[in-house]
Symmetry: C2
Subunit: 236 residues, 2 copies
DNA sequence: TCTCGTTTGTGAGCGGTGCTCTCGCTTGGT
DNA sequence: ACCAAGCGAGAGCACCGCTCACAAACGAGA
């Protein structure tokens, strides 16, 4: 244990760097929450932190890099939130846990709309998500896979029908995502994963205005149907 | 018929105005398609059109107003595309028409990604969609309702189950959207509508990268399942 | 046909942005 | 104790949205 705090920075200098970096991200997140990503301004962040704008470039080489950092943090916050909901439902049925995780994702999105828009809305300018975001981005998906796997191992699943033309792709996805699950299930799971974000996005971005009113109940039912489609049943 | 061309402008002046307005929108759409909404610049549009930037404000009072115009156009282009697909499948079964309409929406989105992002991605800055966009925005949804209605009137539908707690909301939505359909159907329909855009968005915004490869087949199957959930069956 | 008010285009300008570069100060490790 | 590396400051570049005062072009009514 001689290198106990090796991840804690070696010198005071490095420590300061981490602190300033965090302060920049915090202030940026503050502005993001208020005005949205488009109005996030490096100069304003620097101003608020009492430094000159050019100093900020010592920490983030460009505005896009700051945004990328915020994106990763947002993915992780969303994942964290979903995982917490998952832990809290340890005893429940898979279907109940599925709904709880989906509701946690929705709650996080409603509570942090601009951050959600940053990750699941249209990607900024000519921006394509760097590889670094991938692990953070997959946390909710992995959770849904885990819930399904748990149900499969405990009671088995109702397998959806799968057209022949989709079978090769289904098997490819299965091999990559969850080789222990049936391809029919994995395919439906991937679709449900995308559809979940359709439901959240429509509510968040105002598409449900004047259409759906009791959105919590509606959402709960819709994601329950998604779970049902994947093969989870409330009883088990 | 004395006022046959009343919508055609009275003088040459008014004619010029709509021509310039159209030219601005066209050039803006060009830039939008290349760089995305965030980089759309009034000055660049004006420059390309050989006018000075301030002149452009005679036609659009602000950048947001230009964007709003583009948004409405995009909704209409998407709606047009979907309606064309609907017309082309006049003889087919409702389920087939459903899939065709969804595929048309997807095709349009893939062909016009930045315009799609403009309407179904995160709304720009502090932007909330003006009332003027509503009719254009609902065209695809109305199409899906129409297909479902046709199926209902011809053969009836398999009614999904509806939990008691959702019944009031389901009946409210039904009264507003399609009083002639069963509330169970309307509820599932609204969810399917949102889920459709989850599927399109995930593909378009790169969430399916390294996950789904044969996206056309996958999409066709997923929206087929949506149709099935609403109660449409391929056979009928 | 002339005229006068409206419409349109011009150019300067304001305050803001992302980003670069050079300059000195501070400081941590040798 | 020194020196290179890290860091902040400030000026500056090119761009942005938007405003304003002004001049030219225009068309409808006298």
């Amino acid at each position: 244990m001689s290198s106990a705090d090796d991840n804690t920075p070696r010198g005071a200098r490095a420590r300061a760097r981490i602190e300033v970096t965090a302060a920049i991200k915090d202030e940026a997140r503050r502005q993001l929450a208020i005005d949205g990503a488009a109005k996030l301004s490096l100069r304003a962040v620097a101003r608020e932190l009492g430094m000159v704008s050019s100093a900020l470039y010592r920490y983030f080489p460009s505005r896009d890099d700051l945004l990328t950092a915020l994106i990763i943090d947002a993915y992780n916050a969303l994942g964290e939130s979903a995982e917490a909901a998952h832990r809290k439902t340890a005893g429940a049925t898979p279907a109940q846990r599925w709904v709880a995780v989906c509701e946690a994702a929705r709650d996080w999105a409603l509570g942090n709309p601009h951050e959600y828009a940053l990750i699941y809305g249209s990607p900024v300018p000519g921006y394509s998500a760097p590889q670094a975001t991938v692990p953070a981005a997959s946390r909710v998906g992995l959770l849904l896979i885990g819930i399904t796997r748990e149900a499969y191992q405990r009671h088995g699943l109702a397998k959806p029908r799968l057209p022949a033309e989709l079978r090769p792709e289904a098997e490819r996805m299965t091999a990559e995502l969850a080789p222990d699950l049936p391809p029919e299930t994995v395919t439906t799971l991937v679709a449900a994963w995308a559809q979940l974000y359709g439901l959240i996005g429509f509510e968040l971005f105002g598409q449900f205005n004047r259409v759906v009113e009791d959105r919590t109940t509606f959402f709960r039912h819709a994601v329950g149907q998604l779970a049902h489609g994947v093969g989870l049943v409330y009883g088990e």
